[in-house]
């Protein structure tokens, strides 16, 4: 359950699956690791069961799928409550991520997606009902995400 047992093979697997989770087979990854596909499959199962791999998801361009609005909501919640509120926040329609911030008065960063501004208002309302103050709202103009590049150098072992 610890996080220490990530070796070269695991790194290569993580890198491959971050690159393309749908069209790469265990055999393809095995070629890169120099092991067999059954080994890769067992490793993947372990990574899944230990929670290192949380799942596999299509990366959707919300802009091109009818939801052009992306907004950051900086919130303030009381520290003791904050952690427990995260699941409730994720339940709010349009919310795609919640981050607890260590420093600052604005200790919660909520990201929401929608069709238009009118979709954001009810989100702020729902947050208020959870006892969370929305201190600031910032519209996101563009958004690029990529896999972490720490797994593509399996030569340097992490352990």
């Amino acid at each position: 359950m610890a996080d220490a047992e990530i070796d070269k093979v695991d790194k290569t697997i993580l890198h491959a699956l971050q690159e393309d989770a749908r069209n790469i087979s265990s055999g393809d990854i095995a070629e890169r690791t120099g092991t067999s596909d059954s080994t890769v499959r067992k490793r993947i199962q372990r990574l899944e069961s230990t929670g290192v791999i949380k799942g596999y998801s299509a990366m959707v361009d919300y802009q091109r799928s009818g939801y052009p609005l992306r907004m950051l909501l900086y919130c303030t919640a009381s520290i003791p409550e904050r952690g427990g509120l995260v699941p409730d926040i994720l339940d709010i329609d349009g919310v795609v991520s919640v981050q607890e911030l260590v420093t600052g008065e604005k200790n919660l960063l909520v990201t929401a997606v929608g069709e238009s501004d009118s979709d954001i208002t009810p989100i702020a309302q729902a947050l208020l009902e959870l006892g969370i103050t929305v201190a600031d709202e910032v519209l996101v103009r563009s958004h690029e995400t990529q896999p972490f590049n720490g797994f593509d150098r399996p030569s340097e072992d992490h352990d």
Copy 2:
């Protein structure tokens, strides 16, 4: 190329692939849409080629894979340059996302992942070399992301 042609079937496909991009086949999705697997496959190809689906990626728990540090870097870049800098920023080791913010002096939000604080310093340095000022750094205590839930109600067509 427009973003308007997302119908019920597409929404169901997007929802399914966001839920599990690796272990769901076109046939499985076809059962949900009430169409055939060959139809689903063609729809997926279209969604991919129009850029609605940007790719498929394993969601990795960086905390459990040896990279417990997540940091937000609020930056300031001159507006005309900002957009063009995004690819350069993504090239920096440890950077996982770049967001252009519409309002505020801090008009760029960079998210980075690393093993320890010492991994963040060179990132700030690299940003400086691009002519970007790091105005603020905030450590992320916890981070939860989920698929947008707008695709799980295919009853209401978006068009």
